[in-house]
Amino acid sequence: MNIIYLDNNATTQVAPEVLEEMLPYFSEFYGNPSSMYNFAGQTAHKLEEARSKVASLLGASSEEIVFTSCGTESDNTAIQTAILSNPDKKHIITTRVEHPAVKNMGEYLSGKGYRVTSVPVDSKGRLDLDYLYKNLSDDTAIVSVMWANNETGVIFPIEEIAQAVKEKGIVFHTDAVQAVGKIPIDVSSTSVDMLSISGHKLHGPKGIGVLYVRKGTKFFPFMIGGHQEGGRRGGTENVASIAGLGKACELAAAHMEEENTRVKALRDRLESELLKRIPNAKINGDTDNRLPNTTSIGFDYVEGESILLMMNELGICASSGSACTSGSLEPSHVLRAMGVPFTAAHGSIRFSLSVYNTEKDIDVVIEKLPPIIQRLREMSPFCEAGNLKLET
């Protein structure tokens, strides 16, 4: 079956150019970058080349790039290192809509005697900045706010928040896993201390990540072992994946404009056509500040899994809530934090596009989804024709 992949916030395909970049480092140039002989020197050079490509996408310098095994490790490392650097501070600030890699670290720490403030969002998924600023205190070890939300695509004003946090001398981290590669980012012009990336969200491989650590930031390794990554992350370097991530960052820079024009236009068309054809459908999140590739749409009176399964029959891949929480039966914590009514939260579907999507992909969804929603609504005990009307 032909696959229409509209779940790029869950994971992306490895770009062919990225795979090509990786291939020599499995069975041919397999030396350990820490080894002294020339045969391994090739791999060590490749690491540095990749490091500078990543740095360049972020507006960082190479020494500020630490390779990790994934976005989750980057997030864990940032929070853990801030905690270890500030042993006397017992408060952290994060938000209600973070990925589990940050959210569950907060929960873990709150079990260890930390006070954790979770900043709320409004019905459009926008952060309550006053709430955040009011809670900054001398006891705050770190503030961690994601750059863009994985479920709704809502972008937070990170530059502004970072500056306010730094003015108080507090460490600021941002989980930019969903933002990097989709919107232009230049850390050098911000006050961000640490920033997380995950390779598989920008057409790099799974199982590789980056933590940007601003020069001068106090740092303790989370992964404790050998002297790799300048003593900042133990473990033999994943050369092939690092090479691939470097390439992926280079490609992301080259595709940035397309992402924000052609891909955005596809997303906009998908969204407006679905709203036009399906009554009682609503966009979740702030459409004025949103990733160009993401839309989350709530369909009243139907249940997300059923929609996904019917789309699955047609080869259409999308998600309800985040991939990490599907398999659980609760509506997503993000939509709940936004106060999306249960009628819509349960039936919310996220479509996330990439440069590999075509007009044709969108045509299919626009044609096939409305009858699916209609069929499911006909089975629903809550839904009577009189309830339904189009958003306008």
Binding site: E303, E305, S306, P381
Partner: protein, 152 residues
């Protein structure tokens, strides 16, 4: 990924007996919109006291839809005494099994059936014993224990 049997998929994609019987003998409703799962079951008896028609409406996941569809098929031709004995395990078995994290979706069908029978007999609603642990469709701890036992 969904580990659904072909039978589950068939009952999900081609659900039998969707709808409401207008002059139903028994009606059972469980769940609510708030919890993300809800089921309305109606049945009609023939002159011999056997169920000759059953219909459902479900707001829920694929397992819930398939379970409801399966239940309505199973019910046809049964007496109420026979119908009462159907367990959620029986529904799952009829479907060739459900993933373990989805077993509870079949509980809803069983509960709606129980309510529909109570409604037909005009008995007062059974007082719910135990503590309500799942806000969704009012599952009690005792019920969960029963389901766990039934599921071995």
């Amino acid at each position: 990924m969904w580990e659904y049997t072909d039978k589950v998929k068939d009952h999900f994609l081609n659900p039998r007996n969707v709808g409401v019987i207008d002059d139903a003998d028994g009606t059972g409703e469980v769940g609510s919109l708030a919890c993300g799962d809800a089921l309305k079951l109606t049945f009609k008896l023939d002159d011999n006291g056997k169920i000759n028609d059953a219909k459902f409406q479900t707001f829920g996941c694929a397992s819930a839809i398939a379970s409801s569809s399966a239940l309505t098929e199973m019910l046809k031709g049964m007496t109420l005494e026979e119908a009462e004995k159907i367990t959620n395990d029986d529904i799952a078995a009829y479907l060739g099994g459900l993933p373990k994290e989805k077993m509870h979706c079949s509980v809803m069908g069983r509960d709606a059936l129980e309510k529909a029978i109570v409604c037909y007999r005009g008995e007062p609603e059974k007082k719910i014993e135990g503590e309500i642990v799942c806000e969704c469709f009012g599952v009690t701890d005792l019920e969960i224990e029963r389901v766990i036992k039934e599921n071995g």
